[in-house]
């Protein structure tokens, strides 16, 4: 490994004991032979690693717990919302004819729309494409714009593909 790679490892995995054993050995062999990288390692340790490892740890202030409880009591816990299964169970356990009928009606309408889309999809897509082209032509015809033909061509190809 070159000095640059060794120094990257000194800044990260080697110093933080994240490097695999084989990589660790390579770094150590390199350090044994390279005084510049040894100096680099010493500087990083002294300036960027050890000062933080010696950081003071503070106790949370005693008043923090009373602050937390005051905030909690000011706005009590709401009951947890029911999960999806719970909601379905409630629906089955308490049948509501009007709701059930309207659900069936919505499903029927939804099925009919899907079926229509499936059978008439290609026709509609074609109509949509035509409308889009017309809109583009109108836009370029009446708008104060410069037509970039290559962009227009790509647009048309995509619409008709």
């Amino acid at each position: 490994m070159k000095c640059r790679q060794i120094q990257d490892l000194i800044l990260t995995d080697y110093t933080d004991n994240e490097a695999p054993e084989a990589v660790r050995r390579q770094v150590e062999e390199h350090l044994a032979a390279c005084s510049a990288c040894r100096q680099f390692q010493a500087a990083v340790r002294a300036r960027a690693v050890e000062p933080l490892q010696e950081a003071e740890r503070a106790q949370a202030p005693a008043r923090l717990w009373s602050r937390v409880t005051s905030a909690i009591y000011a706005q009590p816990l709401e009951p947890a919302p029911a999960g999806v299964l719970e909601r379905i169970k409630n629906l089955v356990a308490a049948p509501r004819p009007a709701l059930a009928l309207s659900t069936v009606a919505v499903l029927l309408v939804f099925g009919a729309v899907l079926g229509r889309l499936y059978f008439t999809g290609s026709v509609q897509r074609h109509q949509l494409a035509e409308a889009a082209v017309e809109e583009q032509i109108d836009y370029f015809a009446y708008g104060n714009v410069t037509i970039e033909t290559d962009i227009l061509d790509i647009g048309l190809e995509e619409i008709f593909s």
């Binding site: 500087a43 990083v44 300036r47 933080l52 950081a55 003071e56 106790q59 949370a60 937390v68």
Partner: protein
Amino acid sequence: MLDIARATIEQAARGDIGAFEEIYRKTSGFVYNVAWRVTGNREDAEEIAQNVFVTVYRKLAGFRFEASLKTWLYRITVNLALNHVKKVSRARNVTVSYDDALAHPETGLEAAAASVQEPADRDRVERILEVLNPDQRACIVLRSIEGMSYQEIAQALNININTVRSRIKRARTTLSALQRKGIIEGVTS
């Protein structure tokens, strides 16, 4: 690892304040310290720690035990602390880029240091951490002060492990360069 029984977490999730206090007693130390080191301010840390525990109390019912409680707490704490730091930075309109500072060491480092306020009661670690951008600071706090592995940091911050590695590398490069120039207090050899 936290010594908190699953039953305690479940009781707290149902609103049992006694069970929640047990969680608080076992976790408030690291929550407060992480908030302090990321914000660099004890008063802000207290407010953030309060918000962390109120958030935890309200969301505990949704905790699914997929991650450890500690990882979840770290995530909430760091997110709230970073949001706070970024909001304060915007309010102060601090726009110094430390990456730019490193790219132009003759002028950029002094500009970066000049933006740093120096109240008398700040400890050395606060002064060191203040020169880092908030995302790098969070990673270096979790690694060098909290002793978390890169994988744990990645999970806590919900970022890629290589992003963790990159932020730690940049943070240490910045700290070494600034101390070499004597811009922040430290070893000057």
